[in-house]
């Protein structure tokens, strides 16, 4: 199950509300609000493909975009869950730095075997999350304050661990995870004019397409069995074909360069896992219930405090993952690592359709939000824009995304 483009995972999980009978006029609005982000992403990709003369979608560049943004995307997954529950986490940048430093000390200074060191680092991140989760959930301090304090505390912890120096290099395995690619296990095949490409990567891509088709078909068959309305078969197949085409395009481009980045494999697993969690798990449903109406959730028997606590633990673990990836990529744990990552992760979540009041959002949305910023960064640097202009555009995009959300919500509210 290695899918690439997040839009596919979204399709694989389906949007139940998109296929309702009897409310055609509203359906369009609903779809626009839900799918606006994907349309925007597609337009941005097309725009920069044109501006860069196709360089944006060149094999090496696609690979770069994935690898360069992977740690933000990992953080965005944890962040969107926290935002859905109606909280925020400002400390993730510092936790990234602290976990990277902690991992480096273990592996470089104390020669702890790398698998064990990685595991302990994740526990370390989880403990940090538990600390913050305790103050937010059980002590009742607003997450904004707790994690603002955490931002300072864990930066201080980083500096204490590192003593104002960088620590490296990391073992090869860790660097491979952050920066490396799958091996050409099955050799290359020729793709005519496109040249050689890695057969293994392409097979993974084909398998992913098959998996998507199969899960989608099963979901549809299940709905039909329960007499639920489903979208017309032609549209269903059309969507699948588009998704498969995008997926295969990305995989083939990657296969032509240096096979699949390992972080992409990791990301795919995380995105699918967390999407299923939010859609289908009792715990995932409870996140939305807590964010949608805290009191109603409490009186419906949801253990609200426990849900919030575990969300922060989860965020800590994911920050640990991001810390390892980031440190491994630089091959050095650095006192300033992760600086302002929290802002990128929060921006990704809100661009991806999270609501300021909580209760709304999707993992795939946050990933798309993160990729939008990633593509803007990458595309603008390819055409040689100065960094202040990149910042300007990213700020405008964030504001526009949230303004769109507020606007559609207000329109929906006015028609009550």
């Amino acid at each position: 199950m290695t899918s690439v483009a997040p839009t596919n995972a979204d399709l694989a999980l389906g949007t139940p509300s998109a296929s309702e009978p009897g409310n055609a006029p509203r359906r369009f609005n609903l779809n626009l609000r839900q799918s606006g982000i994907y349309i925007a992403f597609a337009l941005i990709v097309v725009l920069f493909t044109i501006l860069t003369g196709g360089d944006l979608l060149a094999p090496q560049n696609i690979s770069n975009i994935v690898v360069q943004n992977s740690y933000i995307l990992v953080l965005a997954i944890g962040m969107i869950l926290i935002i859905i529950a109606g909280h925020i986490d400002l400390s993730v940048g510092s936790v990234v730095a602290a976990s990277g430093a902690f991992a480096a000390i273990m592996m470089v200074d104390h020669n702890v075997p790398w698998p064990l060191a990685l595991l302990i680092t994740l526990v370390f991140g989880g403990l940090i999350g538990a600390w913050q989760g305790y103050w937010v959930a059980y002590f009742g301090i607003p997450a904004f304050i707790v994690t603002l304090a955490g931002m300072l505390l864990f930066r201080a912890v980083t500096l204490m661990i590192l003593g104002n120096r960088g620590i490296g290099p990391f073992p090869d395995e860790v660097r491979t995870l952050s920066n490396g690619f799958t091996d050409g296990y099955l050799g290359n095949i020729g793709l005519g004019a496109l040249g050689g490409a890695d057969l293994f990567s392409i097979l993974i891509g084909v398998l992913a397409v098959a998996a998507i088709v199969w899960t989608q078909w099963r979901a549809r068959a299940g709905r039909v069995k329960y007499n639920q309305a489903v979208e017309p078969l032609a549209m269903f197949i059309g969507k699948l074909v588009v998704a498969a085409a995008i997926l295969m395009f990305v995989v083939i481009q990657l296969a032509r360069f240096r096979n699949l980045p390992w972080v992409l494999v990791l990301l795919a697993v995380l995105v699918i896992g967390y999407s299923v969690l939010t859609n289908r798990a009792v715990f995932g449903r409870q996140i939305y219930a807590v964010g949608g109406n805290l009191q109603a959730a409490t009186l419906s028997g949801v253990k609200v405090k426990s849900v919030v606590f575990w969300l922060f633990v989860n965020m800590g673990v994911l920050a640990g993952v991001a810390g390892i990836i980031f440190a491994g990529r630089l091959n050095q744990a650095n006192p300033t690592a992760g600086d302002s990552f929290e802002l990128d992760a929060i921006a990704a979540a809100f661009i991806g359709g999270a609501a300021v009041q909580g209760g709304v959002g999707k993992v795939v949305g946050a990933i798309t939000g993160g990729l939008i910023m990633g593509v803007i960064n990458n595309g603008m640097s390819l055409i040689g824009s100065p960094s202040e202009r990149v910042m300007l555009v990213k700020g405008a995009v964030l504001l526009a995304a949230v303004a769109f959300d507020v606007y559609t919500k207000r329109r929906a509210g006015a028609s009550r």
């Binding site: 006029p25 449903r285 219930a289 949608g292 009186l299 419906s300 009550r416």
Partner: protein, 515 residues
Amino acid sequence: MTGSDIILQMQGITKTFPGVKALQDVNLDVRRGEILAICGENGAGKSTLMKVLSGVYPHGSYDGEILFDGEPCRFAGIRDSEHRGIVIIHQELALASNLSIAENIFLGNEQATRGMIDWNKTNAAAAQLLRRVGLRENPTTQVVDLGVGKQQLVEIAKAISKDVKLLILDEPTAALNDEDSAHLLELLRGLRDEGITCVIISHKLNEVMAISDRVTIIRDGKTITTLDLAGGDVTEDRIISGMVGRDLDHRFPPHEPNVGEEVLRIEDWTVHSPTQHGRVVVREANLSVRRGEIVGLAGLMGAGRTELAMSVFGRSYGTNISGRIYRDGKEVTLKSVQDAIRHGIAYATEDRKRYGLNLIEDIKRNVSAAGLRKLAKGGWVDDNEEFKVADDYRKSMNIKAPSVGSVVGKLSGGNQQKVVLSKWIFTDPEVLILDEPTRGIDVGAKYEIYTIINRLADQGKGVLVISSELPELLGLCDRIYTLAEGRITGEVARAEATQEGLMTLMTAHGQEVPR
């Protein structure tokens, strides 16, 4: 009644939302110096009409004409309508709770001298307004320290300060106890005599009958009729039949109780306030509910009804709770909401929007919210099964919505309440505590809710109904407890219960206590 001088005319108002015609060619005349009541089921279009009038929906977003004092009005917003002397007081009060009474009254209309607020002038003017509305409070008191009834009076004082000509009140007494309601109605009569025209939107027909000069009935976005109450020949049933479009022979469905074993008993139940140290909210309460029985709990606002129910429901209210709970004769300890649900107790809150529903989610996710584990295998929810369950409830409870994917926040009050009931019935409870199950619900939907409650009792469940409306308790319940200042002051069988008798018990304790 003062002649037929028309202060406000709304002519041919039509307002459409995507896919819905909320108002169709509505005509409304308000005479100067009268109290006009607007009655209609929820969703009939009353609030929409008032939003058109006040400029919340600006000129151009609707068709038709508004004439105020004979002049056509084209309001672009609330400020415009307030400028002309039209003030609306909404059901949800819009006061800044951490500001003083005086600050609230003059919010946006500050009494300033050379750009600086003149506090002496502000407070003196506020004090004068408070005297007019009969509120004995210091103008510097913070609004957060006032009860809902007094806050309502502050809103009216604020309206008067704006030189109001037409005062519109949306469900003004919905959250008030009888005493505060009576005071408010008296005040409205006084204002009318001073020449302020009032329009009230209300579900409480006895109040409508008591206070208004005329009643305009709206149904399905159309004006049905306007009745003149001066003659005295218009009855409540006449208004109801206009609202629902059919004659309601009985406001309560007939029901023959089939009472069985005791399903819930509470003994010596005492609850302390979590916020005010040492205050006892419920004191040594004893009550029981049997299978197949509908038991009422009557009490004035602040008697501790909700507090009693919530403290039993897994201690979701109160501290220092003592006493015993028996389920089917066995003592149980309910430390959390989860415990209560596991022991077959359900509690539907009095405020469904704030405490009962996730308004941004759809019907199916609300229905499954409390019983989600029943739909889950190993922690994973079967969403097809969830759809089926919710759809079954949509049909059996007659929830009016295009599908179970409809967002709950957009449903009418009655349908929202049916979603709440579905949610709790899905948890397979043996005892249902229903707190104000028909508050803010129109007459037709009330009948449906009563039918559902009867059905639950017929299935052998015990039902405890908390209600402020005595006729409702009398029409629905087999047995009624009265609660006053946290004590159970009486237990009356249906046959012996009268409104007067219950009211005496509900106020009994307060009179016994020496001051």
